[in-house]
């Protein structure tokens, strides 16, 4: 499970900036549109991987893995942590 711990500043594109999870439009493992194609392999892989792409804008995330968790930051949509 991941939680949004630190929203980015006011989103210029009208996206959420209040800490609410943004709408998931993109697969957070491969960055492709979530509604298109088969992402079942991504879902399986994600059990042993942190997210790599922002689900809201598909930007690549800056990810820090630690022994017991991870954080993943989108420059526009803020930081997720497990």
């Amino acid at each position: 499970m991941s939680i949004r711990v630190e929203p980015a500043g006011a989103a210029a594109d009208g996206g959420p900036s209040d800490g609410r999870p943004a709408e998931t439009l993109f697969c957070d493992r491969c960055g492709a549109e979530a509604g298109h194609g088969d992402h079942s392999a991504c879902t399986v892989a994600r059990r042993l991987e942190p997210p790599r792409y922002c689900g809201s804008c598909a930007r690549r995330l800056v990810v820090q893995v630690t022994p017991t968790g991870w954080t993943a930051t989108c420059s526009r949509h803020g930081t997720l942590a497990n």
């Binding site: 493992r29 059990r47 042993l48 790599r52 800056v62 893995v65 630690t66 022994p67 991870w70």
Partner: protein, 346 residues
């Protein structure tokens, strides 16, 4: 620099089938002498029907020459991604179209990672950076990080910072870094198919300097990077000749965007045969489960601990996640394998 001489052995040394197991029992279990390269190859070529006997022998060797204790380690990435090297299995190389972006860990977070690792009962904490070798910025971060951890957490500190200069080796030793990781990765004859930006010999040179400076040497490998079974035997022979204190054994976890991203995962039986072969090549080393065991072995990872492994990496890896720590600790407790720092005992 003197590269290790691998004792190749002869076909007559190697034997086959039951022959090699009987030889290994006499030579490794009873006398503590590791297998030659030809003998390692014979072990790697054993049929599946011999696997149970092979694993039992490797376990007996581990118990006889190392004991039941298991060394537990945690790792963290101090500097992630953006590496100028091109190791074809690595998602942290900046030369491929990998989704891993560059990131630096701050010192308080590094100390917290060491504290969380120590809380699992682990005795070893390894600070890793994705670099060719440390520059002054990284060395300064390591200086501060090692000092901060030593002031706050009771745990052995290891580092893995790529290829070192003699001055950097000396400074790390003086800081109290007790073990340094630098893997040979793959067989010398296969290396240029895996890495083109530096040489096997450069890696070997750092390993030699580390040991000469009095730090323990942790030098391992990644299996499943396109090597033949002969090259896998060569790799085990090269590691045995180098004789590191610890050998971390990684299995390829194919990473998106890397040249090896579509390579197959090593099969569980092959992985177990490899573990046993490495143990029979190096009866006294700390043989550690490192990355990739989750996808290679799944629930069969207990079999590795009963087939030669005597050290585990717990928690997450550098860019991927591991099993829950509690699962591994429960597994060790169920196997009646106590956690202990092993460097002084083998």
């Amino acid at each position: 620099m003197t590269a290790p001489t691998v004792v190749s052995g002869t076909d007559a040394d190697a034997g086959a089938g039951d022959g090699i197991l009987a030889q290994a029992r006499r030579q490794v279990l009873e006398s503590g002498l590791g297998l030659t390269q030809a003998q390692i190859l014979a072990v790697l070529q054993l049929p599946d029907e011999a696997l149970t006997d092979l694993l039992q022998l490797a376990h007996d060797v581990r118990m006889r020459w190392c004991g039941p204790e298991v060394e537990v380690e945690g790792i963290v990435s101090l500097k992630t991604g953006g590496c100028p090297e091109d190791c074809h299995f690595c998602s942290q190389s900046g030369t491929f179209d990998s989704p891993v972006r560059a990131a630096w860990l701050d010192i308080p977070s590094l100390v917290e990672a060491a504290r969380a690792t120590a809380a699992t009962g682990a005795t070893e904490f390894c600070i890793v950076a994705a670099v060719r070798g440390p520059d002054e910025r990284l060395m300064e971060q390591v200086r501060q990080g090692v000092a901060a951890i030593r002031a706050a957490v009771e745990i052995n500190i290891a580092c893995s910072l790529g290829m070192l200069t003699q001055a950097q080796v000396d400074e790390l030793a003086a800081m109290g870094v007790h073990r340094y990781n630098h893997n040979l990765e793959t067989a010398r004859s296969h290396f240029t198919n895996v890495v083109t930006t530096h040489s096997w010999e450069e890696r070997f040179e750092t390993c030699e300097m580390v040991r000469a400076a009095g730090m323990e040497l942790c030098c391992g490998a990644i299996v499943g990077v396109g090597e033949t079974v002969e090259q896998r035997a060569e790799l085990a022979g090269e590691l045995a000749a180098l004789d590191p204190d610890e050998v971390p054994l990684n299995f390829l976890n194919p990473r998106p965007g890397t040249p090896f991203g579509d390579y197959p995962v090593v099969g569980a039986r092959d992985a177990l045969r490899t573990i046993a072969a490495f143990r029979l090549a190096m009866p006294r080393t700390i043989l550690r489960y490192a990355g990739g065991r989750e996808i290679t072995l799944g629930d069969l990872d207990t079999a590795g601990l009963l087939g030669g492994i005597n050290a585990v990496m717990v928690g997450n890896y550098l860019t991927t996640l591991g099993r829950p720590v509690s699962d591994d600790l429960t597994m060790l407790a169920d196997l009646k394998m106590p956690i202990k720092s092993l460097q002084a005992t083998l």
